[in-house]
């Protein structure tokens, strides 16, 4: 399954051009179970990308184990296997804090993973043009409720219910790189109770 093609949208909606190898420069690579394939394909195009790469795989279960082994076989500098992204965050913070200029960040997987790790990296001072990204896996968004500020992960329908305040929110394409989230806005604010039929979010 190649990089997802999203339909063109507004300027704040992120685009994921796909991973391009930058040779043997120092690198941090972060992927979930679906994104790991993109890292393997990257290494197949240019094996030297792994020479100085610290790989962080955020994927649980049997699929995670299999991917961890497959990535290990590419002989990167190191592979850290974490059950999910939340568990990987302290490690990522540390890697970013210690990184030197010239480090590339390769991100592959869900929009939530790409958005969240990008936000972390930008905050650490990594320039935006040092980040490579490729979308893999199901279409699901990390949404912030503009009303209660709570974040709901893995949203697949529009509208959806905020997992914090319970308001029904419609899914905007407006995206904050600082927060790594899309914006959700109350869908029935003017006409309480009148809620459109939820639709599956499309690319």
């Amino acid at each position: 399954m190649p990089n997802t093609q999203f339909s063109p949208s507004i300027d704040s909606r992120p685009v994921y051009p796909g991973l391009t190898p930058h040779g043997a420069s120092p690198a941090i690579m972060v992927a979930d179970a679906e994104g790991a394939a993109a890292l393997r394909e990257l290494a197949a195009r240019d094996a030297s990308v792994m020479d100085r790469a610290q790989v962080v795989l955020a994927a649980g279960g049997a699929a995670g184990l299999a991917e961890a082994r497959a990535l290990q076989a590419l002989q990167p500098k190191g592979v850290s296997h974490e059950p999910d992204l939340a568990a990987a965050l302290p490690l990522l913070r540390r890697l970013l804090a210690e990184a030197r200029m010239g480090t590339r960040l390769y991100l592959a997987g869900s929009e939530g993973l790409i958005g969240q790790v990008s936000a972390l990296a930008l905050d650490a001072g990594l320039p935006a043009d040092a980040i490579e990204s490729e979308h893999r896996g199901p279409i699901a968004r990390r949404m912030q409720c503009v009303h209660c500020k709570g974040i709901t992960e893995g949203v697949t329908t529009d509208p959806f219910t905020c997992s914090h305040c319970g308001l029904t929110l419609f899914v905007r394409d407006h995206f904050s790189r600082r927060l790594g989230v899309f914006q959700g806005v109350c869908v029935d604010a003017e006409t309480p109770g009148i809620i459109p039929e939820p639709q599956e979010i499309r690319p």
Binding site: H22, S25, P26, L96, A97, A99, R100, M101, G102, T103, R104, A124, G125, L126, P127, A128, D129, A130
Partner: protein, 316 residues
């Protein structure tokens, strides 16, 4: 065109045989607008019937409105602005000076700043140093000069652990790669000096995987001389002759054709002018137009660019 102030020269100090420092103050001692490190002013020089306008980086403390200081290197083969400053300006001379404008600002988000200067390219950094000191941001400065005698910066730089001087005559050549290697994430590098130095720093950055957004170069320079050429004003059909040491902008001004401008160095975009017809080749020397725009030959930046060919009709 920027707003101007009439300022009086209050100090003239030779720093080296070629470089002189000038201080400007308001004749009534009024406070001048403050600025940010890296800003320049455009000084207007009435030179024997020709009105010259040159941009100079401010080297004084950006938070001190009591005066502006610049350092001018005499270019004997140049277009005359620096010769005017060296030959005809003395304490007490009144000159028109624009408000400060910054096209080479520090990125305040940087976790660290690496400043790299060659020769007279030290000037914008002198004001930036004061700003960095005031804001207590980490930095290092590297200053390269050919010889001790020519190194005007030596008289103006503080002697601190963050300031490194490389005099090539003493066998100490600056190595841009070594300066950029191993810097922490969030470092920004800035370079100002001869084109060769700028290219060397950019190359080293690219080789080390620095993203372009973290590498800054002082983009504007003095308009290059060249062969004389003629242009036609579209609206009136008037023909204007541009001399070898004159810029197209200066020639238009001398002919009283109105063109907007600000930096006079090809960096701000203000003087962008449409081209109605071009039989020949525009020599683009600006940093404003995109490669596609250059190739199309439908726009020209008169402050820097020249023309070679039969006919150039400007949309003026």
């Amino acid at each position: 065109m920027s707003r101007q102030m009439l300022l009086r020269v209050t100090e003239v100090e030779p720093l080296t045989p070629l470089v002189t420092r000038f201080r400007f103050e308001h004749p009534e001692r009024a406070a001048l607008p403050l600025f940010s490190g890296g800003a320049h002013v455009v000084v207007e020089m009435p030179d024997d019937g020709v009105l010259r306008r040159n941009a100079y980086s401010l080297i004084s403390d950006p938070y001190d409105g009591s005066g502006y200081e610049i350092a001018v290197r005499r270019e004997d083969t140049g277009r005359g602005g620096s010769r005017f400053m060296h030959g005809q300006v003395a304490t007490g001379t009144d000159l028109r000076v624009s408000l400060p404008l910054n096209l080479f600002a520090l990125d305040p988000r940087a976790k660290k700043h690496v400043l790299i200067a060659g020769g007279i390219g030290i000037t914008p950094f002198l004001a930036q140093l004061r700003q960095l000191e005031r804001l207590q941001q980490p930095y290092e400065l590297h200053y390269a000069a050919r010889s001790q005698a020519e190194a005007a910066g030596l008289k103006l730089l503080p002697q601190t652990a963050q300031v490194h001087v490389h005099i090539s005559e003493n066998g100490d050549r600056m190595d841009p790669g070594a300066l950029l290697e191993g810097q922490p994430i969030g470092t920004h590098a800035y370079v100002c000096g001869p084109e060769g130095l700028i290219a060397a720093v950019m190359d080293a950055g690219a080789r080390l995987g620095w993203p372009p957004s973290a590498l800054h170069a002082e983009a504007f320079a003095a308009p290059p001389p060249g062969e004389a050429f003629r242009v036609t004003i579209g609206s009136t059909g008037a023909e204007i002759e541009v001399g070898p040491h004159q810029s197209l902008l200066e020639a238009l001004e001398a002919a009283e054709v109105e063109v907007d401008w600000s930096c006079r160095g090809g960096a701000c975009g203000r003087c962008e002018t449409g081209v109605r017809a071009c039989h020949g080749r525009i020599e683009h020397h600006d940093h404003w137009l995109s490669p596609e725009e250059r190739a199309a030959q439908t726009k020209i930046m008169p402050c820097m660019s020249r023309f070679r060919g039969d006919r150039l009709v400007l949309d003026l």
